[in-house]
Amino acid sequence: MTDIEVRKLFPLLNQDIAYLDSAATAQKPQCVMDAVAEFYTRYNANPMRGLYELSLSATDSYEQARQKTADFVHAKQSCEIIFTRNATESLNLVASSFCERFVSEGDEILVATSEHHSNFLPWKKYAKLHGAVVRYLDCTQEGLYTAEMLKNALTPKTKIFTIAQISNVFGRVNPIQEFAEICHEMGTMICVDGSQSVPHIAVNVQELDVDFFAFSGHKLYAPMGIGALYGKKNLLEEMPPFLQGGEMIDYVSKEKTIFAELPQKFEAGTVSAGDAWGLKSAIEFVESIGFDEIERRELHLTEYAMKQMQEIPHVNIVGDKLPENHHGILTFTIDEVHPHDIAEIFASENVCIRAGHHCAQPLHILLGIPSTVRASLAFYNTDEDIDRFISVLKKIRSQMGYE
């Protein structure tokens, strides 16, 4: 695929802009926007309960989206996919319901220190509610977690270990399959935050043998407003619901409630069927490009950018030295220049990058850096975007009066 072919698919990118903030949210291809409109034009009704044709179509399209999502991450059954608003809701759901069912006084929850707040605060909240303790697994300065480190941290009391497949600061792939094996040997469950992995690499939850896997649609070219939680059926079945309301019960009286089967048990209220239809379209879009092509393009761009960044004095890349350990995520600092000033100068040239702690404040504390700058790529970026990024990067210190 040529750059021009790729760019044509993303209407927002047809302007004078270098969008390098895809780890925050991805731009949307036209087909995804069309799919959302298609849902409302052709299938719109409240799914699940209607007997009329239109409601059956709405239900059917929603369940097709679920099946597509299940296939995408290679879940065994579609009822193992719970639709949520975003990864944050997925992680709140699993933290709440898992802890309510499986965690009690004195237990431990192990959280990787590099986690996004969304995979950290919910565990802290529900650990506290159930009298458990949150412990942390620190990584090296390069963002490395090893089997050794994990083995040393697990105890017989560790009920669950939670870690991102790819951290939104480092971009390195953690060896989830190995970690899952180690955890399961200790009787520990493993929850994986896939927010930054599903847009970049093929995921197979059965091969990885993870117990839970959460991600957002909007980083995967889908609309905002839809996310997913994969969970192993036997675990989800044992867990109590999270949100309560319409569509998630079979019977309610003043005294008694019988919850619906999976997956409805975890989807209270009217579902976001339009956005789910958009997610289906986004997954089909990604599949039509293919992860081989996506990885090839993204690795090329990452290499192209890193090689130049490494040559600029006073620019320090966070994480590993090798481009293949970044998956398009380039977090960095510039000596003596505050990240917000860096971001502002980039912004003035219409290069969209992000400054701050990227919702990973405990990691920044561990690294001893209050905040950083992050440029993050998707396969729709081009060498030209990188050139633009590098040319601004080179002049930042001089613009701030240094050298």
């Binding site: 505050h338 000033d341 040239e349 702690h357 613009q399 701030m400 009066g401």
Partner: protein
């Protein structure tokens, strides 16, 4: 939006070579000002005698705008009486809200170079941090 010029020489000079960024022994007043959303964090120290700000300094960390703005502010208010400092703070705040006259603007001297911040809603907090902290010290302790 392009070529926004507020990283000008005045600002970068105050940021690189601040006149007032240092600790102070026995200040009369000392207050921390924080912008939690972007991490700017300063401690403002003042000496006040007979209603006159005789000396001031700040410590802390943050973006160039927050640091330089605090430095320019101290340039301006040291030696002035508290009431005038309040007036200047008021003018500065109104400059950010774009309700200021040219005459008033002149009274801000170098600090008026931050006028363009008014177009950058996300950086306004940085620019006013020092002034907000100054106001708080005066309101709580002096006036």
């Amino acid at each position: 939006m392009n070529n926004r010029t507020f990283y000008n020489e005045i600002l970068t000079e105050h940021n690189r070579y601040p006149a007032h960024k240092h600790s102070m022994e026995l200040p009369d007043f000392s207050l921390e000002g924080v912008n939690p959303s972007c991490g700017d964090d300063i401690v403002l120290n003042l000496k006040v005698e007979n209603g006159i700000i005789t000396d001031g300094s700040y410590e802390g960390s943050g973006c160039a705008i927050s640091q330089a703005s605090a430095d320019m502010m101290l340039d301006l208010v040291i030696g002035k009486d508290v009431k005038e400092a309040q007036e200047l703070a008021d003018i500065f705040m109104r400059m950010i809200k774009e309700t200021v006259t040219d005459e008033e603007l002149e009274r801000l001297e170098e600090a008026s170079s931050l006028q363009d911040i008014s177009h950058m809603p996300s950086r306004v907090k940085c620019a006013v941090l020092g002034w907000r902290t100054l106001n708080e010290i005066i309101d709580k302790n002096i006036s």
